[in-house]
Assembly symmetry: C2
Homo-oligomer: 344 residues x 2
DNA sequence: CTGAAAGCGCTTACAG
DNA sequence: CTGAAAGCGCTTACAG
C-alpha cells in the first residue's frame, strides 16, 4: 500500500464503492448487496486487511472484549491460583472466541483498584470474576461495580445483590452426593475439611449437603468432625494434624476442594495411614491433578466447560441489556480410587 | 456529568486548562507544570475519570496490550494445556501489569489463522507464544509474522530465524543435571522418555544433556533406553508399557516433562514396581502437581516467574524498536522423593 | 509551559 | 441498497 497501513478507504477505492459500504460489507450488514459484499471481502482478504479495533471501538463504544479477573490471595507466597480457575479461563477464552470476543486477563489482589479499571476505560465490555467466592470481603468492590453500571458476572454461590449475576454449582447437592458416596461404602465417621461460615458460601453449602446426607441416614452431625481449611494443600495437611491431635475417631474425610483433598491424602500417608484402607477421601472440583495422584481422587466434578459457557452467555446477555438468570450447574460424582470399594 | 461519559474536555473545563494539557498531565508529561498536573489529576480522581483506551489507541497507534497465545493440541480431547504454561501466563500478566500493559489471552490451535489477528487489527502491540516449541510445524506461521513485521517472542529453544526472539531454559544443562543426579544415586540403566528429534528441540537438548552426563561417567548411551513421549501423562504411561514389553533392563527414568513423569510413575506402580525403590524417576518443569504426587517428584525447575519477566522484557524491547537478546535461563534441580537416597 | 487544530480509522445517523 | 458527512475521545505536531 505504499505508505502507511491499509484502511477501509483503500478497500473502498479498489472496490469502487464508498468507505461506509466497505464498513457495512465487512460486518455482514444486510444493507449491502450480496455482490458488493463478496467483492469487498475478497479485496480485504487479498490486501490482508483487518479492521482497526481501536477505531471501531471508539466509534461504536464497544470493544468486543471481555475481562476475566482471577482473584489471587495476597497471603500466598507462591502466587498460586486454584488450577480449577485456570482451566476455566481456558474454556472462557474459547467460549468468548466462538462469539467473536477477545479476553483480557488479570490476576488481581484484593487491595487493587480493579473495580473501575476495565469498563470505564473502555478496555472491555464486561467483566467475569473468578475466585471471588467470599462475598463478604468483596462487598465494597461489587457495590462499586454496580454503581458504575458495570457489566459483570461472578462464578460462585448466589448472594445478596447478585441476582442474575452468578453461575455456580449446586453445592449443597454436591456435598450431599459426596457424603452419600462415603456412607454407601460403609463409612460412618466422616470428617469435613472446609470452613462453613458466611465467608465461604460455597463451602458452607457443601457442608449443608453433608448434613443432609447424614440426616437422611439418621446419623447425628458431630461438630468435632468439622475442621477449617481454605483452598490450599498445606491447609488440608494442617487439618489432618489437628484431626489426629484431637483424638476424634474417623474413617473418612470429605474435603471441600481437591486442593485440600490432595494435601489431606499426602498428610495421612505421612502419618502412616492408608488411603482408602484406613481413611476414605473425597474431594471437590475435579482438577487435573485429581486423576494424577495416588490413589486417584474420587471427587465431585464441576464441569468447567459448561461453567465457562454459562458465564460468557450470561455476561453477553447483560451487555446486550438483558437481565439474565443466575444458573446452578449440576455436580457430578467422579469415582476413582480414594474411597475404596470400587473396581475400575 | 449530566449526559454521557466523562471526557478529558470535562476535566479541562473544570481545571481551567485546555484539553491537550489534561491529556499531557495525565500521562505525566514533563511539559506540564507540577501545579497543573496535580490539579488535573485531582479532578480526574474526583470524577472517576479514566482515559478511553480506544481513543488513545487510535490516535497513538499503541494499545499498551500484549497478546499471549497458548498453543493447544487439537488432538487433545480434553482441551488440556500444559499447566506449566498456565502458571507462566499468570506471571506474564503480573509482569505486564507492572509495566502498565494489559494482557489478551487466547488458546489457539495450529489450524487457526492467528498470525494476523492481533497486531494488524490493533488489538495488541506484540505477541508472546507459549507452547510453540515445535518450530517445524510453525515455520509458516512464524514466517508470516516476520513478514508482517509483527512484534513477537517465543518461549522455547532458540531456532533458525529466531535470534532475539526466544526465552528458554538451558535444556542441555538441565538434562545433564537430572541425569547426573540419578547417576550420583547409583542408578546405571537410565531410560529417557521423550522425543529427541528436530520437532521437539527442547526435548532434544535435554537428551543431549543426558548423553553428556553418561559420557562423563564413561557409560555408553543405549539407544534402546530412549522412548518417544510427548507432554501428556497417558504418553508417559504408554512409554512404560513399551519399556516393560521390551525386556530392557532399567533402574531409572528421566522423563522430559513432569506430565510424562507423572504418567510414568502411575504406570510403574500399576505394574507393581515401587518408586523409587525399583525405579527412580526424575521429571522436568516443576509444575504444581509435581510436589503433590506420591512420591513427590524430583524434577528440574524452570522458574516461570523469571521466564515470564524475561519474555515481557524482551517483547517490550522489540516493540520499542530495539533488537533484544535471546535468553537461556538456568535450570535448577529440585530434589524430592522420587529418586530415593535422600532424607528431607 | 500552554493552547488551537488536525487527524487517527472507523460506525452511524441522515438523505436519497 | 448506497454515499456524504459527522463524530467517537484522544494524542501530537505546530505555534507561541
Amino acid at each position: 500500500m505504499g505508505s502507511g497501513k491499509t484502511t477501509s478507504f483503500h478497500i473502498a477505492l479498489m472496490a469502487g464503492v464508498s468507505q461506509a459500504t466497505v464498513s457495512r460489507a465487512l460486518r455482514d450488514s444486510p444493507l449491502v448487496s450480496e455482490a458488493t459484499r463478496e467483492k469487498v471481502k475478497q479485496i480485504a482478504r487479498d490486501l490482508n486487511y483487518q479492521v482497526d479495533r481501536s477505531a471501531a471501538g471508539l466509534r461504536s463504544g464497544q470493544t468486543r472484549t471481555l475481562a476475566t479477573l482471577l482473584f489471587e490471595d495476597e497471603t500466598a507466597t507462591d502466587n498460586s491460583v486454584n488450577p480449577y480457575f485456570l482451566s476455566m479461563l481456558g474454556h472462557i477464552t474459547r467460549a468468548a472466541a466462538r462469539r467473536d470476543y477477545d479476553v483480557l486477563v488479570a490476576f488481581q489482589q484484593l487491595s487493587e483498584n480493579w473495580h473501575q479499571h476495565y469498563e470505564i476505560s473502555n478496555r472491555a465490555d464486561g467483566i467475569i470474576l473468578l475466585g471471588y467466592g467470599n462475598y463478604v470481603s468483596f462487598e465494597d468492590k461489587l457495590d462499586r461495580l454496580r454503581r458504575d453500571d458495570a457489566h459483570f458476572v461472578v462464578w460462585g454461590a448466589s448472594g445478596p445483590g447478585l441476582d442474575g449475576r452468578t453461575v455456580g454449582c449446586e453445592n449443597r447437592l454436591g456435598g450431599e452426593i459426596a457424603t452419600r458416596h462415603l456412607l454407601s461404602l460403609g463409612r460412618k465417621r466422616i470428617a469435613f475439611f472446609g470452613e462453613k461460615d458466611e465467608r465461604c458460601p460455597e463451602f458452607r453449602d457443601r457442608y449443608a449437603g453433608y448434613e443432609d446426607a447424614l440426616a437422611a441416614k439418621g446419623i447425628e452431625v458431630d461438630p468435632d468432625l468439622q475442621f477449617d481449611a481454605r483452598g490450599k494443600e498445606s491447609l488440608g495437611a494442617a487439618a489432618v494434624e489437628r484431626l489426629l491431635a484431637s483424638g476424634t475417631r474417623f474413617d473418612a474425610i470429605f474435603a471441600a476442594s481437591d486442593l485440600i483433598a490432595i494435601g489431606t491424602i499426602a498428610a495421612l500417608r505421612e502419618a502412616g495411614l492408608s488411603v482408602p484402607g484406613d481413611v476414605a477421601v473425597v474431594g471437590y472440583d475435579d482438577i487435573h491433578a485429581a486423576s494424577c495422584i495416588t490413589p486417584a481422587l474420587t471427587t465431585v466434578r464441576q464441569d468447567p466447560r459448561a461453567a465457562a459457557g454459562a458465564l460468557v452467555d450470561l455476561l453477553l446477555t447483560r451487555i446486550a441489556g438483558g437481565k439474565g438468570d443466575s444458573r446452578q450447574l449440576p455436580p457430578q460424582l467422579v469415582v476413582r480410587n480414594s474411597c475404596g470399594g470400587v473396581k475400575i
